[in-house]
């Protein structure tokens, strides 16, 4: 017997990869191209006339529309609050879990739970917690004397955004925690020993040994969490959007993804919605390229 021939290898590769490539082509790439073509038309399902080809008018309309910039700014605002918040909490918890103590695995298991739950449930959960009339947060703070009257936590737009970022952080903080923890565990202990010998205190060791060595882990966590926060949808849907109540979508927590949903599936302005999708793509592209470059750096692709 001899090693498989080139032909056998080719056929093997072909059979293995073909189904998934066909699926990806049909379900993602073909619709993506089609969406782009749609974005150049005036397609609006509410109007019963054939869509016209209008070049880039949809894009121009969006880019000159105040609402688009508001929504974009809000999306980046949410990302801008969520990322530092998550990293801070994750770093803190990772340091804690890096310590050795009895019951550490249990604590780790329980800490990670929120990440594993459906984000729509998380939005609902917090909505109930923050409820102004019967919410548990009010009850809790009242019993500790921190507040004397029940607060309507989601009352103002600023508060709504704030709570969205907190709930998003609660949903996602476990992921960066794990990444950072893995990073911490990868730091050789003799580095710390050397640091001790050189007379570095705990904070100096954190600052000059741990932190620099964790930077790659931070980078990974940041990229992944950027994508998660930028594409936030579920949490807002059940927390503040009012979308699940069937009414119009609360404009104060409308992010790019919700705006896109509204344009296409509520307003039925398909052409305009398609254009927005591509604008979102362009915004994500910068980060996406970074993401793919990391793949190369990791040597997955030779």
């Amino acid at each position: 017997m001899k090693r498989p021939t080139q032909w056998q290898n080719t056929q093997f590769v072909f059979i293995i990869l073909l189904p998934i490539l066909v699926l990806v082509t049909i379900i993602i790439y073909y619709p993506a191209v089609d969406t782009f073509l749609t974005s150049l038309t005036s397609e609006n399902l509410r109007i019963r006339r054939p869509a016209e080809f209008i070049y880039f008018k949809n894009y121009i309309r969006l880019l000159t529309d105040e609402e688009f910039w508001e929504v974009t700014w809000r999306s980046f605002l949410i990302v801008g609050i969520v990322l530092p918040l998550e990293m801070l909490i994750a770093f803190f918890i990772a340091l804690l879990l890096h310590e050795e103590f009895p019951g550490r695995n249990l604590v780790r298991t329980l800490t990670i739970l929120p990440w594993m739950l459906p984000p729509v449930v998380n939005g609902f959960l917090w909505g109930w917690l923050l409820n102004g009339e019967y919410g548990a947060l009010n009850g809790f703070l009242y019993e500790f004397g921190i507040i004397t009257n029940y607060q309507i936590w989601l009352r103002t737009p600023a508060n709504q955004i704030m709570w969205v970022t907190i709930v998003q952080t609660w949903t996602r903080f476990a992921f960066p925690t794990i990444i950072l923890l893995a990073g911490l565990q990868g730091i050789p202990t003799d580095l710390y020993d050397a640091g001790k010998v050189d007379g570095a205190g705990p904070f100096a060791r954190l600052r000059f040994i741990t932190f620099p060595l964790l930077l790659p882990s931070f980078a990974v966590a940041l990229v992944v969490e950027f994508i998660a926060a930028f594409q936030i949808f579920d949490v807002i849907w059940t927390l503040t959007a009012g979308g699940s109540a069937g009414g119009s979508i609360n404009p104060f927590t409308k992010t790019l993804m919700l705006y896109n949903y509204e344009l296409v599936f509520r307003d039925l302005r398909v052409g305009l919605g398609a254009a927005l999708s591509y604008l979102i793509l362009i915004m994500s592209l910068v980060v996406g390229l970074f993401f793919v470059r990391r793949l190369y750096n990791q040597g997955l692709v030779e």
Partner: protein, 292 residues
């Protein structure tokens, strides 16, 4: 301070911090669970809340599956059926997707990790590009495509979409996993005359079983938790999974927090249990790609 005292102080500090962390992570979950087993009188108590019901009751769960949520005072609405069908749909879609993705990604992982062929880089790139791609780019036209194929509101349609969306991550995970299996064993097998299929099934699969388990669980939980895809591609009890059914309850019916809490608990129970019992696999799986 003696060494022993310092040790004790350290532990005390650690456990105190752990308490804070666990409170942050678990208190909301605890509250929704308590809400689901409280009577309305206790649940709506204010300003002092009842932190654990005097008489826990499971009747909200029972009524959820038998009666369903009510609209105003109105007799029946077909929501009881929705919980049952939602559970079924969630299970079928997530298990189906996880099974298919595990099988295909193991093969693909092996191919990418171990074989050289023309266009490999390009194909890998072609697949991995999907990961950071905002799904909306494809979603709009995909919706109309699925409509034309009669796949809207079908479990099969959901499974096809999820398989496609999750394959890149799974392939990535399996590629890294297979790459880390010592290649000597495989080369030896090749010399012994095994063909690629035999090798994949007899050598790679047993060695990659933990990786496959991780892929299976990761895909299962991701699919179960997803909301946007079923929100758009489902319409009725034929295919609406629990995540969508839950939001229907929130919007449509009188705000019965105890019933909705029960629905929320049912929706999050499988991921919750998986996270408790299979966390090792999940965490390794979910972070493998990113950390390696």
């Amino acid at each position: 301070m003696t060494l022993k005292q310092r040790k004790i102080l350290r532990l005390v500090l650690i456990y105190a911090t752990c308490a804070v962390v666990l409170f942050w992570a678990l208190a909301p979950i605890y509250w929704v669970f308590v809400s689901s087993i409280s009577t309305r009188a206790e649940l709506y108590a204010r300003p002092e809340k009842v932190w654990f019901p005097a008489e826990p009751t499971f009747r909200h769960y029972v009524s959820l599956f038998t009666q369903g949520a009510k609209y105003r005072d109105g007799g029946f609405s077909p929501t009881a059926g929705l919980m049952g069908s939602g559970l079924r749909n969630s299970l079928v879609v997530s298990i189906g997707t996880a099974t298919i993705v595990t099988l295909t990604s193991t093969g693909a992982g092996y191919v990418f990790a171990r074989m050289k062929f023309f266009g490999k880089q390009f194909v890998f790139f072609f697949l991995m590009l999907l990961m950071p791609l905002p799904i909306w780019v494809a979603l709009i036209s995909l919706f109309f495509l699925m409509s034309q194929l009669d796949l809207i509101d079908t479990l099969l349609g959901l499974i096809l979409i999820f398989v496609t969306l999750l394959s890149p991550l799974a392939i990535w995970m399996m590629t890294t996993y297979v790459r880390d299996i010592p290649s000597e064993i495989q080369d030896a097998a090749l010399v012994d005359g095994a063909n690629r299929w035999q090798m994949l099934l007899r050598i790679v699969v047993p060695l990659a079983a933990p990786g496959m388990t991780a892929v299976f669980l990761v895909v299962l939980i991701t699919t179960w938790n997803n909301f946007l895809i079923p929100l758009i591609f489902t319409r009725s009890a034929d295919s609406q999974p629990l995540t969508v059914v839950l939001t229907l309850f929130i919007g449509q019916y009188e705000v019965a927090w105890e019933d909705m809490s029960a629905a929320a608990v049912v929706t999050m129970l499988p991921p919750f249990l998986m996270a408790l019992f299979f966390q090792r696999f999940l965490v390794r799986g979910l972070s493998m790609g990113a950390v390696k």
